[in-house]
Point group: C2
Chain length 185, copies 2
């Protein structure tokens, strides 16, 4: 951030009175520009015993498999965001959503929230941001080709919980990957 | 938003290619400025059977009682945000946090996430944004003077769940209040 989005003058970083963090503050109109984490919402969408995965057509992690998920938009609920992303990326309608994992990714200022959900019918297709969409049995999940650790972790939890049919809500965090110039997430 | 925070030129609203929503796009450098919901994180902090509430020293809802809560910052987890807000607003240290309610407030682009938590010791005091901080028995909760519906709802759930000592994670939404020029939240 270099310029004030309200008045167009330059901004500089300092700690406003009563605050404890560096903020971008307008040098002219003094507006403080807060920057906060974003929510990524998605689904573990199932049809029978199979789970729906999308192969990413865009960076980051183009070509890798992911659960349908994306940035929550203003004016919607987290659940609506998860449903919309599943519709956009996998052309699939999901119902009976239950919150399942909330995984912090603090080094990139994101919180990933996944819901368990049932597909309304067995129809799906690759949306604009997907190269391919498929239903996978547990034995066929492409673990080494998953796009993001929050996806791997959510699927691990899901298959660990499924034999008992009890799905406690998981709240945890992932740390930066060591040794990568650009962490995968 | 009137100006591009990257180059300082004017922005205008249109739907970028491949998108379906109006975005602020720079007329000069073409950067798209996405706007996304914010997370408010807080605690139902308990000492024995009592719950910690703060009387707000700032708008909105100055003078009303709230659970300690505030905007999540970049670089922290939701749980860390809830702990920090409890420290800042109530000068109280909390441990053993468990995610409890996730309440969407889509008309103001917020998601409120509350954790159940235990106070480490019985020390607390009014922080800068609080007029007063007190431990309340269930019978003394000032229901008609609570600041926000997400706070009322979280406390209702808490006292409904407590007799059974089972606290399922709640995921729900609140709608705008009818008949108010400025919704309370």
């Amino acid at each position: 951030m270099k310029f004030c989005s309200q008045c167009g003058h330059s901004v500089s970083q300092h700690i406003p009175q009563g605050d404890s963090r560096l903020r971008y503050v307008c040098d002219h109109c003094q507006v403080i520009h807060y920057q906060n984490p974003n929510i990524v919402a998605g689904c573990v969408a199932t049809w029978g015993t199979q789970v729906l995965l999308c192969r990413r057509a865009i960076e980051p992690r183009k070509g890798y498999w992911t659960l349908p998920a994306g940035f929550m938009e203003n004016g919607e609920t987290v659940e609506q965001a998860a449903q919309r992303e599943t519709r956009e990326e996998a052309c699939a309608e999901v119902v009976n959503l239950s919150i399942y994992t909330l995984i912090d990714v603090p080094h990139i200022n994101q919180v990933h929230i996944f819901y368990r959900a049932q597909m309304l019918n067995p129809h799906y297709a690759a949306g604009e941001e997907s190269l391919d969409v498929r239903l996978f049995d547990e034995a066929d999940i492409p673990w080494s080709e998953l796009a993001f650790r929050t996806v791997s972790r959510t699927l691990e939890c899901f298959f660990a919980d499924r034999p008992n049919q009890v799905y406690p809500v998981r709240s945890e965090a992932v740390a930066p990957l060591a040794g990568l110039a650009k962490p995968q997430q």
